[in-house]
């Protein structure tokens, strides 16, 4: 991830462009440094497109408007060979073939094949109305446009089709019968490369770049990393994590009011007196101070503690053990890797089930033997563990090694995410509160395994199913990386100065040092001692999503990625 080989494409839904202040879009451009900006179709949104063109330095394209007119497909240059800065491995030019819609594709099937013949320069075909349609009464999912694609795309090879009509993260290879478009099969796991099904088959790798429903705006924009091999990765971002709106307490309305006063960037904000901010409608002196603090955190990359509370476990004689688990899916059937980093000895211990995945108990037993036997008096530390790690460990230990259940319950369990983000003891730099983003913003140098939780889960599932071995070292390095990143964040927060005056107002709900000691009494005491403990999860039961519940939801979905 550190080397910038290839190119980045920013995929923006028109609504995200239209609704956001220009300064936010500019910040988006500065932060993500796209090589091209794709304003998603299939609807024609000329105004949003115009806005994107003026906001970004990188060239923008909007498929519904990209008609070449001469019967050929528009070729969008993403990166040309001379512009590539690393000068190393990858200097090939990269282009997209862009079609306004399926109808246009249908009209000019030969244009497609001639454009695609130019591979590998043409990395993908962009067609925004390719989408899947679920027909539950027939228990089938259709690929809209399958017939057109089967007619236009080459056989015997895999063609990548990018679409804004599928959410970012959608990735499946549809094998279509040439001519008819009948579905021959669909491959879902692209790990280890994708193969065409047969010589007479049109294989389409459909990858989404659109917003994900059900997440509000938290996954509304996507970045695609491209290399000569195609799309290497797709990441999602929250549009409100950029510009002034990235600052806590500034929503679109406040941002508008600030813009009226000429304040459009976080630097501007920091130059605006707190008193002026406090006088904004709906603001308060505390809120204004918080805006300043958070803006400074984001600008400097330095974390800020909002209270004078100790970090969880900070007052213990030995530091907590940093824990991370890997599973085989979001609804796990095995916790196949448990990694623990011990800051006291700067050592790492991994418990991995490499040989008998049918028995989820062995790895748990080994872990418990070690934890309870070797480190009987240590606390554990996680990042969002109550949303994932602790939750599943508790449930799996109770089921598979019940003799350790009671002991496990009494192990002190701390969570840095809960303390910092949910209980609002600190402001963190980083665009999101994902561990990777926070650690990265705090200068952590990761191992660059190129994996994420979902990939590692899929790889393990494949191992269980087919016996095909994982690249164990790589997957173990991934887990270790997260444990060490967690400790890095912990140290940076520990070294950040404690807040003074504001402590009393901000920490009243969570309690102060007693929190840590009572948490050490085991799970039940700890939930009863700290009402905030169960709060985020509880609020998920409500039908009214609050800020917190939204976080909690996100938590559980990204659990594999160590939120």
């Amino acid at each position: 991830m550190t080397a910038r080989a290839g190119a980045t494409v920013l995929a923006l839904p028109p609504s995200a462009v239209a609704d956001r202040p220009m300064a936010t879009l500019e910040d988006l451009g500065r932060t993500l440094e796209p090589d091209a900006v794709w304003v998603l179709g299939p609807k024609r949104e000329p105004q949003a497109f115009a806005r994107a063109r003026s906001a970004f330095d990188a060239p923008a394209f909007h498929p519904p408007l990209e008609t070449a007119g001469d019967g050929t497909l528009h070729r969008q240059v993403i990166a040309d060979s001379s512009a590539d800065e690393t000068g190393g491995i990858d200097t090939e030019p990269l282009e997209f073939a862009v079609t306004p819609n399926l109808r246009a594709l249908e009209a000019t099937p030969t244009a497609v094949s001639s454009a695609l013949a130019d591979r590998p320069a043409v990395a993908a075909l962009v067609c925004d109305d390719v989408t899947t349609t679920v027909r539950p009464t027939a228990l089938e999912t259709r690929l809209e446009g399958a017939e057109v694609l089967a007619d236009a795309l080459p056989t015997g090879t895999v063609t990548t089709v990018l679409t804004g009509s599928e959410p970012a993260g959608y990735d499946a290879v549809w094998h279509l019968e040439s001519g008819t478009g009948a579905i021959r099969g669909v491959d879902h796991e692209a790990i280890g490369g994708v193969e065409p099904l047969a010589e007479d088959c049109v294989s389409v790798r459909v990858r989404g770049a659109g917003p994900t429903e059900g997440y509000g705006n938290s996954r509304s924009i996507a970045t695609l990393r491209l290399t000569a091999d195609g799309v290497a990765s797709v990441e999602t971002h929250k549009v409100t994590d950029f510009g002034l709106e990235a600052v806590d307490g500034i929503g679109p309305k406040t941002a508008e009011r600030l813009a009226d006063r000429g304040v459009t960037t976080r630097a501007d904000l920091l130059e605006t007196p707190v008193q002026t901010l406090a006088d904004l409608p709906g603001s308060s002196p505390d809120g204004a101070r918080r805006m300043h603090q958070h803006a400074r955190v984001l600008e400097t990359g330095e974390p800020r503690r909002l209270t004078d509370d100790s970090l969880p476990g900070e007052d213990w004689s030995t530091p907590p053990l940093c824990l991370d688990i890997e599973t085989d899916g979001l609804s796990p059937t095995i916790l196949w890797q448990i990694g623990v980093y011990d800051p006291a000895s700067d050592s790492y211990q991994a418990f991995v089930e490499r040989s008998d995945p049918s028995d989820p108990g062995r790895v748990l037993e080994a872990f418990c033997d070690w934890l309870l036997g070797v480190h009987p008096n240590r606390a554990l530390l996680t990042w969002n563990g109550w949303g994932f790690d602790y939750r599943h460990l508790g449930s799996f230990i109770a089921k598979h090694v019940p003799y350790y259940a009671e002991e496990w319950e009494s192990v002190p369990k701390l969570d840095l995410y809960l303390w910092a983000a949910t209980d609002e003891h600190a402001l963190l730099p980083g665009r999101t509160n994902k561990l990777e983003a926070v650690a990265d913003a705090l200068g952590y140098e990761g191992a660059g395994t190129g994996l994420d939780g979902a990939q590692t889960a899929a790889a393990y599932q494949r191992f269980v199913r087919t016996g095909e071995e994982l690249e164990w070292e790589r997957h173990e390095a991934y887990c270790e990386d997260d444990c060490r990143a967690l400790w890095h964040v912990y140290e940076r927060l520990r070294d950040a100065p404690r807040a003074d005056g504001v402590a009393a107002t901000l920490s009243s709900a969570a309690g102060s040092k007693t929190t840590d000691s009572s948490r050490s009494g085991g799970r039940s005491t700890q939930s009863s001692a700290t009402a905030t403990e169960s709060e985020p999860a509880e609020s998920r039961e409500t039908e009214r999503p609050t800020k917190r519940s939204a976080n909690a939801d996100e938590t559980e979905q990204t659990g594999l990625g160590d939120f």
């Binding site: 899916g329 089921k399 509880e538």
Partner: protein, 918 residues
């Protein structure tokens, strides 16, 4: 009143005959039937024969035989469904089984929990109290707690999960809580009993969701090593065993030999008097006479069979009887079909007293009458329940909210405003009066509509026939697929779910469908996880509404104290009852709707208090548009299609109706409502031209006097009546053949099927036999009213009907006639599909139903072709023509049966009117 309450063994203060004698004004004896139903004495078994001494000891009363039988079956580890009468002590059965489990567990130093699922929150709280009281009496330390949407969040909920022995909730709650099952680990691991109370209420759409929630719950229970027993309690239904087994997917022992006592009952079937015979001293008379005169063209249920005999509406007569009974010291519960009528009836009961001061010397006697329905706040409802129980109230006008087992004590009498539509519901409601061995009084006031008139004229229908079957469908893939996503979110779906959750083929297909849509990941061998948007449970709508709720707000500048504090409203209700200009009565206060916001993100209804002497009533119309055939097949010469299309429901105009008398002040005022548009599944049958020609000829002399639209004498009417009747009967019998609930189906008989189809689809040869995905997509883009989901449907029914007629004019070929059957739920439910696949069997049933009915009416009766929900008030209907059509379809007609009616070549020139009937 209080005297009555303190003498529980006393009979009702007024008998059926006395009611007839004392009621002011003349009532023809032919209009009132008093049936005396004998009582039944209790059959009991000593507790000690069934229960251990520790439980039997403190119990004062013996067990009824059905309680004993159920407890014995439970002791043998069987699942039990108890289907006995209201207040026969069903709760006690599972309460005692919980106590048994508790004692057994205590003996081995373990825990035992029970999960109790009730249909309503009100019932939950009611039962929480009585169960806790029972365990206090038994001296058992069993904690019973309610845990539902009203339960205080945070610490309180955690304590209930971690400490309660018995948790009471509802299925909407279980659906949600399963997501966090690990937090329920203690409770679920120890679960020995699962109770589904009032299980007969789980039918249709709701029933199928419940069946899947039960299956999801069972997976999770199994994960925690629990294998609980089931107890289902049900009102008397036709198929308690089959229905219970379908819900829980396990064999069930049925206990339905009722051992509880019943007092004798006077059952009065009361047909309101004809209008012109009404006592002229009533000042309402003129108003309601005007009401019914000359406006038969409205969508209101108009008198169907005998125009000469117009009767006082039950909505006027029933409150009078309520008023009369409470005056006679009988505490009375009036059941009304709507919240509106519950409110209105209280006013009318009072008016009756004051209009008849000569008779009611002391008009304030027994006049404490309140409305009761789910629109009231919980506190408010609870107050009313309490006041009923303690005798403070003399009467209540309630919706079916009081039909279920809320404890309101023993009533003297019930009055039903109209027949509730189902025998099961009828018996459940009248069971509210006369608990124990007291003589009770129940009055059914017939509404002036065909179904009610049939019932009062033929009491045997109520007394002798079986009650209806409760229908629950688990074969519906759309609903199954929704719950599969939830299941995968709760625990990975894997090989162990094959067979247990669904058969392999179905499971694999559904998993693959969601995988292709990017919502599931993984394989059955290793476990399938849910990876879609958070909390798939939230997208499950248990009542199959659109899931869109409207907040109720007060208009600006209105005093906060007049806030009606109403619960959010479902979209369907807003369109029907809360359009702009609507006047709604809520807890005695009138409100006018001043604004409706349909758009996202927060739809709302704005009200302000008002004081006017009218209320409003919407008119409803239905039509089908843009149907696209996806599959078709031949049945003899007939062509049967399955496909998708749009069903439009319009509450397009409303009337202002006088509060007193019901006269319409103003008619046909536009609601400005958007149409309620459903993309759904349909099947339809095309009648071949030669059959149509012959039948039009055969029935060309049929006329239906007074039919709206001035089409009373058109040559096609008899045939159209046959199609209409066949459509009703087909829908009506569908549940006999298939696991569907007819309330979720709708139909439309039409002389021009083609004008309801999508015009863009080519129709060579009149059929479209192969599914062509591309043609479908194309068709949708160029459909009559734009793409599905777009908001460009015609704004009112006139526009829609005009469109249908316009299309009819422009058709290139002679259109086919026939009828549609559609799923009345957005997206469809697979019912129309199932009927498509089983059409012959269903048609055979329909044919026999119509032919064998001995009602003797050309237009049929509620037992054959009349449908209570008919939007055209069951007109025109023609049984004989329907049988002819179905005989032709099934190939049962004699050779040449139609030959006599073949029109001459030169004849047959009658212009085809574009008629269609829902």
């Amino acid at each position: 009143m209080s005297d009555q309450r303190s003498k529980p063994q006393a009979d009702v203060p007024i008998t059926g005959d006395e009611l007839v004698e004392t009621f002011p004004g003349y009532r023809d004896e032919d209009d009132v039937t008093v049936l005396e139903r004998p009582g039944r004495s209790a059959e009991t078994v000593p507790c000690a024969e069934v229960l251990d001494p520790e439980l039997a000891g403190p119990l004062e009363n013996d067990l009824y035989t059905h309680q004993a039988a159920a407890l014995e079956a439970l002791a043998d580890d069987e699942n039990v469904c108890v289907a006995t009468s209201t207040s026969s002590g069903k709760t006690r059965i599972y309460a005692l089984q919980i106590a048994r489990h508790y004692l057994e567990a205590r003996a081995r130093d373990a825990a035992s929990t029970a999960y109790l699922l009730y249909p309503t929150k009100a019932l939950s709280r009611d039962q929480e109290r009585s169960l806790n009281d029972l365990y206090d009496d038994l001296g058992l330390d069993i904690t019973v707690r309610v845990y539902d949407g009203d339960t205080e969040r945070g610490e309180n909920r955690r304590r209930i999960r971690e400490e309660a022995d018995v948790i009471i909730t509802n299925f909407a709650g279980v659906n949600t809580y399963l997501h966090d099952h690990d937090r329920w680990a203690r409770f679920l691991s120890a679960c020995d009993l699962l109770v589904i109370d009032e299980s007969h209420t789980y039918t249709g759409v709701h029933g199928m969701h419940v069946a899947w929630i039960v299956r999801r719950l069972k997976r999770v229970l199994d994960y925690y090593g629990a294998d609980p027993q089931f107890v289902l309690t049900s009102a008397t239904i036709g198929n308690p065993g089959a229905h219970s087994s379908a819900l829980i997917d396990e064999p069930v022992t049925v206990v339905d030999e009722d051992g509880s006592p019943t007092g004798p009952r006077d059952l009065v079937l009361w047909n309101p008097p004809p209008k012109d015979r009404e006592d002229p001293s009533h000042d309402e008379r003129d108003e309601w006479r005007d009401d019914e005169d000359g406006d038969g063209a409205t969508s209101e249920k108009a008198p169907a069979d005998d125009v000469a005999l117009e009767r006082v509406p039950a909505t006027v007569e029933a409150p009078r009887i309520l008023s009369h009974l409470t005056y006679q010291d009988a505490q009375t519960l009036l059941f009304t079909p709507s919240r509106k009528l519950a409110e209105l009836s209280v006013k009318r009961a009072s008016k009756h007293r004051h209009d008849n001061r000569r008779y009611y010397a002391n008009p304030d006697r027994g006049s404490a009458i309140e409305p009761y329905h789910a629109g009231h706040s919980r506190t408010n409802r609870h107050g009313t329940e309490h006041q009923l129980k303690t005798g403070v109230l003399d009467g209540v006008a309630s919706t079916n909210a009081l039909e279920l087992g809320i404890d309101i004590g023993e009533m003297d009498a019930t009055v039903q405003l109209g027949y509730p539509g189902q025998r099961q519901s009828f018996w459940q409601q009248i069971g509210r009066a006369g608990r124990g061995s007291r003589r009770a009084l129940s009055v059914l006031v017939a509404e002036h509509r065909t179904l009610d008139q049939y019932v009062v004229n033929d009491p045997d229908y109520l007394l002798e026939n079986d009650v209806e079957d409760a229908v629950v469908d688990i074969d519906n893939d759309a609903v199954f697929a929704q719950h599969l996503r939830c299941a995968a979110d709760e625990l990975a779906v894997d090989e162990s779910d094959v067979g247990a959750f669904a058969d392999r083929d179905r499971l694999e297909r559904a998993v693959e469908m969601w995988r292709r849509a990017g919502q599931l990941r993984g394989h059955l061998e290793t476990g399938v996880s849910y990876v879609g948007p958070p909390r798939p449970q939230r997208s499950v709508s248990l009542y199959a509404t659109t899931g869109e709720e409207y907040e109720v707000r007060l208009a600006d500048g209105v005093d906060e104290r007049s806030d009606p504090e109403m619960e959010p409203l479902a979209k369907e209700r807003v369109l029907r009852d809360f359009h702009e200009g609507a006047v709604r009565l809520h807890q005695g206060q009138q409100y006018e709707v001043t604004a409706v916001e349909h758009g996202a993100p927060r739809p709302s209804v704005t009200l302000r208090p008002t004081d006017v002497d009218y209320y409003t009533r919407t008119r409803t119309d239905v039509t089908v548009l843009d149907a696209v055939s996806e599959e078709s097949r031949e049945v003899g010469e007939f062509t049967l299609h399955f496909g998708r299309g749009r069903v439009l429901v319009y509450h397009g105009t409303y009337d202002k109706v006088a509060v007193h008398g019901g006269k319409k002040r103003e008619q046909g005022i536009p609601t400005d409502n958007p149409p309620l548009s459903m993309e759904t599944q349909l099947c339809w049958l095309e009648v071949p031209q030669n059959v149509e020609d012959a039948l039009i000829e055969k029935y060309r002399d049929v006329s239906v006097p007074d039919l709206e639209d001035g089409l009373a004498d058109t040559a096609h009417l008899g045939y159209a009546g046959g199609l209409h009747a066949a459509e009703h009967a087909t829908i009506g019998v569908a549940p006999l053949e298939l696991m569907v609930d007819k309330r979720d189906l709708g139909g439309l008989a039409t002389l021009t099927i083609d004008s309801h189809l999508d015009r863009a689809v080519g129709r060579e040869g009149g059929t479209n036999t192969n599914t062509d995905a591309d043609a479908d997509a194309e068709a949708r883009n160029e459909s009559t009213f734009g793409a599905p989901g777009s908001d460009d449907a015609p704004r009112n029914i006139a526009a829609a009907e005009a469109t249908v007629r316009e299309i009819a004019q422009g058709l290139e070929r002679t259109p086919a006639s026939g009828w549609f059957i559609y799923d009345g739920i957005e997206g469809g439910l697979g019912f129309a599909r199932a009927i498509y696949e089983n059409y012959e069997a269903v048609a055979e049933r329909a044919r026999d139903l119509i032919a064998d009915c001995d009602c003797g009416n050309v237009g049929g009766c509620p037992a054959c072709v009349m449908d209570e929900q008919c939007g055209n008030d069951n007109r025109p209907l023609h049984r004989e023509a329907a049988v002819d059509v179905l005989d032709q379809l099934l190939g049962d007609a004699d050779e040449g049966a139609l030959a006599a009616h073949r029109p001459d070549e030169e004849h047959g020139g009658d212009r085809r009117p574009p008629l269609f009937y829902a």
